[in-house]
Amino acid sequence: MKFTWFNLMPWPYLPDDFRAQHRSVWVDIPNTLYDPRKGHHVYHEYLDQLEYAETLGFDGIGCNEHHQNGYGLMPSPNLIAATLARRTSRAALCVIGNSIASYNPPIRVAEEFGMLDVISGGRLVAGFPVGTPMDTNFCYGQIPALTRDKYREAHDLIMKAWASDEPFAFDGKYNQLRWVNCWPKPIQKPHPPIYIPGGGSIETWDFCLDYDYNYSYLSFFGYLRGKSLLDGYWERVAKRGKDESPYRAAFAQIICVADSDAEAERLYAEHCLYFFNRCLHVFPPFADPAGYRTMATIKYGALAQLTLARQKILENLTWKQLVDERFVIAGSPETVRQQLEECIKGLRIGHLFCLFHNGDMPDWKTRHSMKLFAEKVMPRLRDMWPEWKHDERWWMHPMDDRIRPEERQPGAEKVGAEWPR
């Protein structure tokens, strides 16, 4: 198993009556609710936590991209990854990812991911989401019915830019570039591992399998509800005749560890409820513009994550519901281990994106929870997939002789010996 410590970076100062006063945490959230001076401290606290995760032995540290969003302070995940690249040396940098249909031109992503892979010594895990409708359509103005087509073109451009050793012309429908010549290119060859975060679009499964990319189901609603979707994915894997390596799939799960189940509730309940009640309060039409989901997906019956029905669930959530329905896996190390084992086996996933910081959780609680997890839970879940132990196809392949900030004294090298020549 690989464990990635993921921070959505929620804004922790949404008012108590946020839900009643505002229709959406996303797209048209009043930006006066953001205070840049407080934001300074918030960013540093969250970045410190990501760095701390590496010292605890998490395999990866992760960030993602959202715009105009009260639970995501990373319009540019690449900036976050860039600071982490300089302050860490062991963990994979999982940028899950860049919403490539929104980038103009998308070669920018090829370049920035190239930079991140080079600076980090080959530790980048590159995510290419289609992007949520909130981000891609309503905030960034992409036409819903053409988003997937534009996404595929952006993907083709980036992958060709990474693969090609010669400048080439790209005559796309959405991007025309006479001279594509990616510089710098990533260290990892032929390219960094590619993760495709999916909500519930069935086309995404085939796309992942066509190219052998990782399929990451990023849900906030736990493994019980995630199961039918991942079952569909694994059925598709079998139908396509692909091997069933669990590392083909990743899942995101909110996790809270304390000394006992009761202590978990006492420490974490209010912060998880903050997340579900306030941070997921999205005006339903923003979540489902006509054309974003294909007719095939709509007919398949996969529900958009934040539709009206989902919003109803969120209205009067209690801690008991959160835990019973496994939106949150919380409790003593033993409780968490048992439930995660069920989650990992049930979904057949090799990668777990662990969400320890939730809502307005203070730093000390976050660290307490993740430390208990790293010491008492993670080691016991490591060998869940012994038969796939050596399968590194969906993980980073960094340089052995990469620079490690903790061992380095800038300026101490002799003249003429700074670089390998």
Binding site: I143, P144, A145, F283, P285, A290, G291, M295, I298
Partner: protein, 263 residues
Amino acid sequence: MKWQTVETKKGTRCRVLEGGSGAPLVFFHGAGGLLRDNPFLDQLARGHHVFAPEWPGYGESAGEELLEDMLDFTLHGWDLIEALGLEQPHLVGHSMGGMIAAEMACGAPHDLGRLVLVSPAGLWMDEHPIPDIFALLPYQIAEVLFHDPQQGQALLTGGADLSDMDALKDFYIGSQRRLAMAGKILFPIPNRRLSKRLYRLTAESLILWGASDRLIVPAYAERWKTLIPHARVEVVGDAGHMLPYEQPEKLVRAVTGFLQRTR
């Protein structure tokens, strides 16, 4: 009136509601599509040979994947007219249909009779931002579209019983398909720079607007008038954006009067 299906050279297959006799008149519907009952078309057919095609992606009309941008829609309009074998038809377009009809007339100004634009989309004024129709809750749609939202709601659903889950699902799927198509020329802002081309119009033009249009407010009528100096503007009372459905008689009277007028 009767349905027929025509296939364009490009390969779209569109249903066309046809009826009446007289000079050919093509009606282009808006983003919501033709409704179940379209009494203004029956009335127009008393004096004209009326053709009301569905855009691909609407109802039983297919080939939406072939149309992606404004030029595709515009040429599709002319392809339809060719497939129907019409010469110099009058073009009447409502809302998005008006936007497309205006584009068609800019592209081929001598290939039509007269032009009627009913609350057309296609322009944008910063001082009058148009509500985002792609971000409305179901119950908000009629409020934005109709002078009388309660009656409007019944018109929109065409009498379907939406408490029935299957009917609701069908309605939802149809609506998603229609608006997905409309989004190609209306999202995120319904302006594909038509204003740069309107100087080319030579056809006599009539602009009709509902006095209580809350989607594209009547101030836009004046903007159209500025851009098409020879156009006449008429504002119709007790009508919102769905003027053709709310005031069919007034619409038909205005259109017929305009089309019969000698120069």
